[in-house]
């Protein structure tokens, strides 16, 4: 069962892609361009808002943003 935080992130991504109704946890968000370069900063703010903390960029990597599963593990576990 997913956390409320990751649900917010999923809803934000789906809200940007009205053609989609589902988003599996293992879909590569960057390679699939579900989140592209114009939206990376928004993704950061969405995660921070859902997690209630500022992301420490010294301790994370791009792989932490790769899929909903990696986002959940890095920021909501």
């Amino acid at each position: 069962m997913s956390s409320a935080g990751i649900d917010k992130v999923r809803d934000w991504i789906l809200g940007r892609h009205p053609d989609r109704t589902e988003l599996a946890a293992d879909v590569d968000l960057i390679e699939s361009r579900l989140v592209d370069s114009l939206a990376f900063v928004e993704l950061v703010y969405t995660i921070e808002d859902a997690a209630g903390v500022e992301i420490d960029f010294d301790t994370i990597d791009i792989e932490d943003f790769q899929t909903l599963a990696t986002i959940e593990k890095a920021f909501f576990a």
Binding site: S37, L38, F40, Y45, I55, F57, I60
Partner: protein, 324 residues
């Protein structure tokens, strides 16, 4: 679009680059560029940037001179420089009444050399200038004729320095002494394609930016394959891709489209120097050469992309004989 191997091949007799000493972390650029914490974090972690060279106190000629002089030093006795091309990305690098190409020529003691600027391929202009200079040498150059490509500019304003969601520009310069049928690296092909629908640079709509991003990897791959075909070599036969330093994410996408091994694309300088306008491929070339990583007889692929939007790829064959 080109015939660099027609008749007599262009040869790159000496490539040199220069980086100002002043080194800053991208976070130090935040206030100047109006970048928030999250935006800087994205540049660091998504795009792979870290430090860059930036010295707003350095006059432009002082930036250009070291690389140009070093390249010119390879001019053999009896040789003469018939043409000097100053290739730049930003159309206005100086007030309208200041001719940087002419000033560079005079500064190098080449006051009688025909000097001109090129900028219409943006960051691909330096590769494009090599082709233009080669064609001029073919058309008009006699025995002992050489040409000098000079590139380099400064991120003199925040508008020039920050390409939103893409790059933070940095200072560097590079220069290349070329001739025909010389002993240097052989230019085997040059392919370039300009997509004029993106000519508005920083004024593109969000939809156009998204479309450009979606097509980026495919477009660059098309030009690369064209250059490879014209050179008569395969991607497997390329020893290393010597790329632009725009950001690592753009290359991640391109590497996937090309289906090339990631280690075949030299990205070590992206976090060190960031994107240095039209100098990237030559800065990266000199880094590799000075580290002894360029192999005599091996093929290399120089790749650059310019806002506006131009994609360019050049295949060269390295010849170590002329190295000092």
């Amino acid at each position: 679009m080109s015939r660099p191997t027609a008749d007599r091949p262009i040869t790159l007799e000496r490539i040199e680059s220069y980086l100002p000493e002043r080194c800053v972390r991208i976070e130090e650029m935040g206030e100047r560029l109006g970048l928030r914490r999250a935006e800087l974090g994205v540049f660091r972690k998504f795009y792979g940037l870290d430090t860059l060279r930036f010295d707003p106190e350095l006059p432009l000629l002082d930036l250009l001179r070291p690389a140009a002089r070093a390249a010119l030093a390879a001019l053999p006795e009896g040789g003469r420089v018939d043409y000097l091309a100053y290739a730049h990305t930003t159309q206005a690098v100086a007030p309208a009444d200041v001719d940087i190409a002419q000033l560079v020529g005079e500064d190098l003691g080449l006051g009688d050399t025909e000097a001109f600027g090129l900028s219409h391929q943006a960051c691909v202009s330096s590769l494009g200038a090599i082709e233009v200079l080669g064609e001029l040498l073919r058309a008009e150059g006699g025995e002992g004729a050489y040409a000098l490509m000079v590139t380099g500019e400064q991120a003199y304003s925040p508008i020039v320095q920050h390409v939103p969601n893409t790059a933070i520009m940095a200072d560097a310069s590079a220069s290349c002494l070329i001739t025909l049928d010389g002993d240097g690296d052989v230019v085997r092909s040059f392919a370039a394609r300009t997509l004029g629908e993106y000519a508005q640079w920083l004024e593109l709509t969000a939809e156009q930016n998204t479309e450009f991003g979606e097509q980026y990897g495919t477009r660059i791959a098309e030009v690369i394959h064209q250059a490879l075909t014209e050179a008569g070599v395969t991607l497997d036969e390329i020893d290393l891709v010597i790329p632009h330093n725009v950001n690592k994410l753009a290359w991640r996408q391109t590497i996937k489209v090309l289906q090339v091994a990631p280690e075949k694309v030299f990205l070590d300088n992206v976090p060190r120097f960031s994107h240095t306008f039209a100098s990237d491929v030559f800065v990266n070339y000199t880094t590799l050469r000075d580290a002894g990583r360029l192999v005599d007889g091996a093929h290399y692929l120089l790749v650059s992309v310019g806002l506006g939007a131009t994609f360019g790829a050049m295949v060269i064959t390295h010849r170590a004989g002329g190295e000092a």
